[in-house]
Symmetry: D3
Subunit: 236 residues, 6 copies
Amino acid sequence: MNPDTRAKLMTVSTATLCTALFKRGLRNQFIQDVRPLNPGLPNMVGPAYTMRYIPAREDLNPIGVFLDPKHPQRVGVEECPEGAVMVIDSRKDARAASAGGILVARLMQRGVAGIVTDGGFRDSPDIARYTMPAYHTRPSAPTNLTLHQALDLNVPIGCGDVAVWPGDIVVGDAEGVIVVPAHLADEVAAEAVEMTAFEDFVQEEVMKGRPIIGLYPPTLEQSRIDFAAWRVAKGR
Amino acid sequence: MNPDTRAKLMTVSTATLCTALFKRGLRNQFIQDVRPLNPGLPNMVGPAYTMRYIPAREDLNPIGVFLDPKHPQRVGVEECPEGAVMVIDSRKDARAASAGGILVARLMQRGVAGIVTDGGFRDSPDIARYTMPAYHTRPSAPTNLTLHQALDLNVPIGCGDVAVWPGDIVVGDAEGVIVVPAHLADEVAAEAVEMTAFEDFVQEEVMKGRPIIGLYPPTLEQSRIDFAAWRVAKGR
Amino acid sequence: MNPDTRAKLMTVSTATLCTALFKRGLRNQFIQDVRPLNPGLPNMVGPAYTMRYIPAREDLNPIGVFLDPKHPQRVGVEECPEGAVMVIDSRKDARAASAGGILVARLMQRGVAGIVTDGGFRDSPDIARYTMPAYHTRPSAPTNLTLHQALDLNVPIGCGDVAVWPGDIVVGDAEGVIVVPAHLADEVAAEAVEMTAFEDFVQEEVMKGRPIIGLYPPTLEQSRIDFAAWRVAKGR
Amino acid sequence: MNPDTRAKLMTVSTATLCTALFKRGLRNQFIQDVRPLNPGLPNMVGPAYTMRYIPAREDLNPIGVFLDPKHPQRVGVEECPEGAVMVIDSRKDARAASAGGILVARLMQRGVAGIVTDGGFRDSPDIARYTMPAYHTRPSAPTNLTLHQALDLNVPIGCGDVAVWPGDIVVGDAEGVIVVPAHLADEVAAEAVEMTAFEDFVQEEVMKGRPIIGLYPPTLEQSRIDFAAWRVAKGR
Amino acid sequence: MNPDTRAKLMTVSTATLCTALFKRGLRNQFIQDVRPLNPGLPNMVGPAYTMRYIPAREDLNPIGVFLDPKHPQRVGVEECPEGAVMVIDSRKDARAASAGGILVARLMQRGVAGIVTDGGFRDSPDIARYTMPAYHTRPSAPTNLTLHQALDLNVPIGCGDVAVWPGDIVVGDAEGVIVVPAHLADEVAAEAVEMTAFEDFVQEEVMKGRPIIGLYPPTLEQSRIDFAAWRVAKGR
Amino acid sequence: MNPDTRAKLMTVSTATLCTALFKRGLRNQFIQDVRPLNPGLPNMVGPAYTMRYIPAREDLNPIGVFLDPKHPQRVGVEECPEGAVMVIDSRKDARAASAGGILVARLMQRGVAGIVTDGGFRDSPDIARYTMPAYHTRPSAPTNLTLHQALDLNVPIGCGDVAVWPGDIVVGDAEGVIVVPAHLADEVAAEAVEMTAFEDFVQEEVMKGRPIIGLYPPTLEQSRIDFAAWRVAKGR
């Protein structure tokens, strides 16, 4: 992802990106049923770095496993690249945590762009105060060892019913998280910026009282004329 | 609904209305599992204007369908009467949006009283800032075309497991949404105002330390005496 | 529970308590899928006082049942001990309320420490403003009579898939609620205070940029030395 | 329940009983989502004898608990009256067994009329060959100790979202299980026998090609005449 | 649908039809989570005739509604065309019945090709013995009036998350039910017959021990040669 | 697994194995919510060979992917060892198939011991007639490409909420499927054979009318004496 694409994706919504992907035949890129713990932050944008959990078997997951410096969860937290988004496959099971406040803080300090799980975080009240975006299904205090064993780093996974391939561009806003296939990121970002300009124009017009038919989409010539004028006036 | 009934319904809670309907044998009028995007607003009150979605078949729902000025979703947004509440049957499926920020803004500008879906809205962070009440299950960025095809306007529907007949009086507060059958609206509104006066009295007494037994319900004569005095003092 | 244990439990998180119980072979003490209505409050700590609902049969649950001063729900609200936490088995069914604002207010006035249901509360916007912690699944306006009949007080129950025995110590924070078996409360509280000191130290170090491997858990000698120094410096 | 009522209930369907109870305002007496393991048997009819499970806490439920001759599950199996139906509240959780082949065999040998759980049975292939009706949600091999602790015998419970009071008359057929409140059993049984006669008549007529309008219900005079003749002819 | 298409669809599986539709971009035509009550019958094939239920409001659905000869459920049963398949939108709610044995018998006698609901049937043991195919989610004894109000006949509906338009060709086998859009029925039937011939050939080869790679799909020239010979030999 | 262990596991039930594992602290080895398509077969026993699906992205999963002889699904079908059990992680999503009749036939012909998915099979009526055991959640006709992309072979996975490590011993009977960790297979098989002998003895006694208390478990000395005699008499 070039820096320009990242900058563009900071300015568009996951809803707009969904539509851009829908036009390309990709109907299932929005991670289902996750929400931001800290919804007031700017967009989260970065390539996916993934972690895969499988169900925890009791004998393999005593509290002592974290004494091992090679434990995948701990390795992942140190190796997730700066600017990346860690995406965790928790099999949509929020009955135990996917990670907690300390690990998420470490990711934040290392310059990671955000974290997403289709399970839940513990220490969620702390994470809600962090400046790195985090998304989950619901708070979950039990240690991950209760139900989750970290197994793989940076392999293709499912998260919230969406395929996530390492390097896909993950974008989050206050609504949720979308996964943009890597090879489409540049063109989708560019299109989404254009779509956002038009939607901002439409929103302004609607707030002034204009009907949507003929305006959204702009089937009336006048709508297109007005939008062109608006772009000039706004410098967009 | 006469203006007086609307005014009354602005002052009572969905919980009180549930009880008033329960007394009349209607046990299933509270829309399940929807919540307000903007919970700080006054009550939402208005007659139901409905829209029905069915599952979207891919070939019938390309992005181009909105070029048709007769598309039911767009027609509905322009025809929903001022003061009405648009209620959408999304088959409790929030995996794609029921509507987005621009359409909801248009409804608001047209003077519609509110909007309810048993699915989800996209652009939910925007809608959360609007001054028209909106209720859904959870945010959902994918365009409605992904899973929903708008089919009918103003027919009887189900929404959150509740029957909604056009013209039923829909009331929302920070707790959720209740559907009051049209023919009961006046009497239920009147009764709910009375119940609310009593509940406010009880709440005050409880906060002063009074036990609930004998007070709520007022099986003790003294409770009824005190309430009568309270009404006089409060002018209610 | 001695006062010292209560004081300790006011200072630790449910996440830390989960880990302390996990170490003792108790993997399933966190009540699933409940959340605080008023998350800004101090911890909720107190012994469990339970109420058990069964499904309501229509003929046994007309509105008039509350005229009976012996109705278990009303008796429970008056008999739940000061300092206790009322925990309600609502069979994870939030389609009707477990209790409402007036009853919760009465509990608060009586000095009860908090209330938990695996169903929902009505008058939830009011309860959200109370100073007594309350936890539920989601708001639910219908009167409890719609679906729930209060049957037993202070018997062992299930709540959110967790066994709750009367007298177990119930602790809630902004994340959720955990049930600590009564006989373990003192030792778990003590251990959790120690764990919290260590986690606070780790969090500080992480925010300064220190890696977690070797620090959390402190497999490096230096981590233990630094923690010892930190404790002296902080007086913990 | 008098023997005559039992005999009548052996000849009617749960569907017919549902309608008879619906007419009396009882809409929620059919146990949801249970099915017979051995659907070829005659009806199951008997008064409810209940067992209540709560979630199992690990330290209270080692395998050794069954050494205790007072363990409620084992006591229940020996004390459930001959002719009764054991109904188990498993909190709709079939992830571990409610009972297994040996206990169910013991009930059968003791003359118990049947067994119902809203969880699952283990040894289900054996139970499927028994001559005592058994109903559950799905097979479940894990021992009940994994998730269930037997706590109470013969108290009111919920089973499959239905209230079950000890002594209620439980009727099962190949479709499922219904709970008839004890005080209504005689009248409902009598009415169901009448309804069944009429439905059998209608079924015969329909199979001969007669339309249902005017026949079912018999709004046409001719339908009532024909039914009267049919009853005479059939001796019913 | 011409008679030839019907004949072809009698000989192919829903699995094969799913693949034929998948190739045309239709990924969501298999009705989810329904199963045959009588799986030993020939395929069910016919154009869809639909019925739409909404949630039942208590005051609108007393037992007496069936006295009205215009009640949509009864009208539908008499008007569903011979050779059609009745498809019912029960909002995936099987807690009460969609229809019962008498109505299904009437449809069968009238020459209807089959019936499908995404809810449940009552009198299911009877229906399981009928010679007309019937599909549902699970048996459900309560009368439809408990939860369902029949509202519309032959409008577009959702059934098991699939769009069903009147006239779409509905095909059922022992696996389940698929909805073929009307305009595609002829071509899809023809293609499915071809695919079935090939799959039958492959199945025979596999049973003789041939590996699937190169055979299925037939990327090896030899596979195509052998299939051509097989067709000649079999006269298909 | 030595041949003796396999032979033993052919004679014991998944229920007995669950208890043997429960005694060793393994509470979560029974695959949840799968059932046999062909329940009349002997037990399924073999080491796990796994396949992992992730959600299918549309552009990566056109029908043409099977032209690739390296497609993991097809490779897995040819490489799964004779005597092994193929276990598929379908993320508990049965909306599209995990595999179909031809692939399952190929596995059977290759001498594979069985197949398990926590999704569904297509061509399930055919598979139900095979002599190789197959387990799934429910029939599902849509091609796997609709929702599943095969990614990995023989890596640790989750299946029905259970951890499955390659080489774990998978046992299926008419009740369901259990996963025995590889290192425990010999001792658990031996113990299960012993337990089965005792349970068979108990079952016989119960069928003669003996009470379970003191017999099961055999806390009475007489029970142990009788069992010893029974073993001699039966040669077990």
